[in-house]
């Protein structure tokens, strides 16, 4: 019966782009004009993406010429002597984003599984809505809250605990400061969590119901079903979601600039202030003292852009393949 229905739909299925199929006669001038004008608007997107990359590159050229590859590994950031190195910022961005993901990914996976597998549909929708509200709060508001509420709270209540039990590690030694790498990582984790969990929820929702039923039919418990049916099916999408979250964390500017303390030095302790690529641009761009200073800041932006492009291309490819597998199956 199901087969019959499938054959019938297949036979009557009309290509989506009926207007484009040659069999229906020539396209009129109006059609051509309309299509060309919407094409022009669509090309704006490509133009913007290329323009962005090209513009940042040319703007950063003086700095690229002056410092070359050394820019990436030098820790000197000294506007008074016009010498620039990006290492402290790259370090700060990498560590804060990595820590943020360390906190956010397990939670986000739990949230996504809870919303798609555990909670009844009506509750899942309501909770999903609340999680999306987390993503809707402007980042400057998170920054404000981080500076005045979360930072001091972490300093007084979490830092001592970490220092007590993990104090043998260099990361948890030294004075406790409220604007720090650690505070920034927690704020970032709160901010990227809704993105990661939303994409994961989408990925889990396209797991065919038959997979779940098959697992249950074999006597699997709920968790075994998730392990056997849901996670293997969604793994590439989950990785994509994590990379997408990483991209967000790298580029987050204002909230981080407010809570990380902006100290361009590399220190092992997470309780010390640090800085990131995005936050130093936000802080110093307007006050750049020389053309080379500005070019160096633009080069930091270029690093951010290139990282963003690479991560997003990778993530989108993974998420596409994860959410479209079922799509192809339906079409067959």
């Amino acid at each position: 019966m199901a087969d019959l229905a499938e054959t019938v739909t297949e036979r009557v299925a009309v290509p989506r782009t009926i207007t484009r199929s040659r069999g229906f006669g020539v396209r009129s001038a109006g059609d051509r004009i309309f299509n060309l004008s919407t094409l022009a608007l669509a090309l704006v997107i490509l133009a913007l993406l290329f323009g962005l990359t090209l513009q940042l590159f040319t703007h950063a050229l003086p700095s690229i010429r002056a410092f070359g590859f050394r820019f990436l590994i030098s820790t000197d950031w000294d506007p008074s002597n016009d010498v620039y190195g990006a290492a402290p910022f790259i370090y700060g961005t990498a560590v804060s984003s990595f820590l943020a993901l360390l906190i956010a990914v397990p939670l986000a996976l739990g949230v996504a599984l809870c919303l798609s597998e555990m909670a009844p549909a009506w509750l899942g929708r309501k909770l999903g809505f609340l999680v999306e509200l987390l993503a809707a709060i402007p980042s400057v508001v998170y920054g404000l809250w981080g500076v005045f509420v979360l930072g001091p709270w972490l300093r007084d209540h979490v830092d001592p605990i970490l220092a007590k039990y993990l104090g043998f590690l260099p990361f948890f030694q030294g004075p406790h400061i409220s604007v720090s790498m650690f505070t920034a990582a927690v704020v970032l984790a709160i901010m990227v969590l809704p993105y990661i969990s939303a994409v994961c929820t989408d990925v889990f929702r396209v797991v065919p119901q038959t997979q779940r039923e098959a697992a249950f039919a074999l006597g699997a418990t709920k968790w075994e079903m998730v392990r056997m049916a849901v996670l293997p099916f969604g793994i590439s999408g989950v990785i994509g979601a994590v990379i997408l979250g990483l991209g967000r964390a790298l580029g987050e500017t204002i909230a981080v600039a407010m809570v990380i303390g902006n100290r361009p030095e590399i220190s092992a302790s997470l309780f010390m202030p640090s800085t990131t690529l995005a936050s130093v641009i936000a802080n110093e761009f307007v006050e750049a003292t020389s053309d080379l200073n500005l070019a160096a800041l633009v080069e930091l932006g270029l690093i951010l852009l290139v990282l963003g492009l690479i991560l997003n291309i990778a993530a989108r490819t993974l998420v596409y393949s994860a959410t479209q597998r079922h799509f192809h199956k339906d079409k067959r």
Binding site: V14, T17, T19, S28, G30, D31, T38, L39, L41, A42, V44, I45, L46, L49, L52, Q55, L56, H59, P106, A108, G110, V111, C114, L115, M118, V131, E132, L134, A136, I137, P138, V140, V141, Y142, L144, W145, F148, P194, T221, K222, W223, E224, G247, R248, L250, G251, T253, I254, M258, A278, I281, A282, F285, V286, L297, V298, L305, G308, L309, R316
Partner: protein, 288 residues
């Protein structure tokens, strides 16, 4: 069928493990939502006292004086976002129509991918871009350049939402119009887009809510202004930048106003999000 005690023990272990994992996912959801309530709670408790008539009608006062408000920043945010919408929405919707109408074509796939990638690039980079092509060579910091930066951020969001909404329109409607001899382009405008318009509108509102909360791209485009901005070619204040500068200032009265500004900003953004979702019964979402 006999079940050995070992088997039974193993089964109950499996059940306990499963329940434990279910409990952990529920716990994760609770933990994830705690910050939401704390942020909103602190906003209300610290900001509400300072949100008064003065806050909406008065201008910022010089350092050291107490009082004043954010009238210019509130108007500035509306001005910037309004202009950005005027620029970004036509381009976004047009591009979305193209992507939906030429779904299979290779070029459309490339553009769709580019739009998705663009959604993920850091917004401060857009600020640098607009600074380089617009602020530096032309008028300096200006309302217009701030709006352009926001529009650039809006375009891919609107494009992808519009495309998805248009694809939801049943193929039969298009076929019916075509069968009546309506030209294809008129079918697209008067039937397809018109059917999808409410979905597109909700997508636009969500995109507007998103850019209204943006600070980073405005820092070196719209910059900020302690006075009214009287022309598109002058710097302009916005709620986000104002909250940022007040929050990192060492003055208690400014910090107090930062909380008030953050409360108003969040209220505006959440009102748009909640309004749209309430009207569409939760089905609306912006592309991400």
């Amino acid at each position: 069928m006999k079940v050995s005690p070992a088997q039974r023990r193993h089964d109950s272990y499996r059940k306990i493990k499963s329940n434990l994992m279910v409990g952990l996912t529920i716990g994760a959801t609770v933990v994830a939502l705690i910050p939401l309530f704390f942020v909103l709670g602190y906003l209300l408790s610290k900001g509400a006292a300072s949100v008064n008539w003065d806050f909406f009608t008065k201008m910022p006062v010089p350092v050291g004086q107490v009082g004043g408000g954010m009238a210019n920043a509130i108007v500035g945010t509306f001005e910037l976002v309004g202009l950005a919408t005027l620029m970004g929405v036509p381009i976004g919707v047009g591009a979305g129509v193209y992507l939906a109408e030429n779904r299979g074509s290779q070029l459309a796939q490339v553009i769709r991918f580019a739009a998705d990638v663009m959604m993920g690039i850091p917004t401060i980079v857009v600020g640098i871009f607009v600074y380089g092509i617009f602020v530096k060579p032309f008028y300096g910091f200006s309302t217009l350049s701030g709006a352009i930066a926001l529009a650039i951020i809006m375009i891919p969001l609107v494009t992808r939402t519009a495309e998805e909404m248009i694809l939801l329109v049943p193929q039969e409607m298009r076929e019916a119009a075509l069968a009546l001899g309506v030209p294809s382009w008129r079918t697209t405008i008067s039937v397809v887009v018109r059917t999808a318009i409410s979905g597109i509108a909700t997508g636009v509102i969500l995109a507007v809510a998103r850019v209204a909360g943006e600070t980073a791209p405005l820092l070196f485009t719209a910059f900020g202004n302690r006075f009214w901005s009287t022309s598109l070619f002058q710097p302009i204040s916005s709620l986000t930048v104002q909250v940022y500068t007040y929050a990192i200032s060492p003055f208690a009265d400014w910090q107090r106003q930062a909380w008030a500004g953050a409360l108003v900003l969040t209220a505006i953004v959440l009102a748009m999000e909640l309004g749209v979702r309430w009207m569409t019964r939760g089905s609306a979402r912006v592309a991400r």
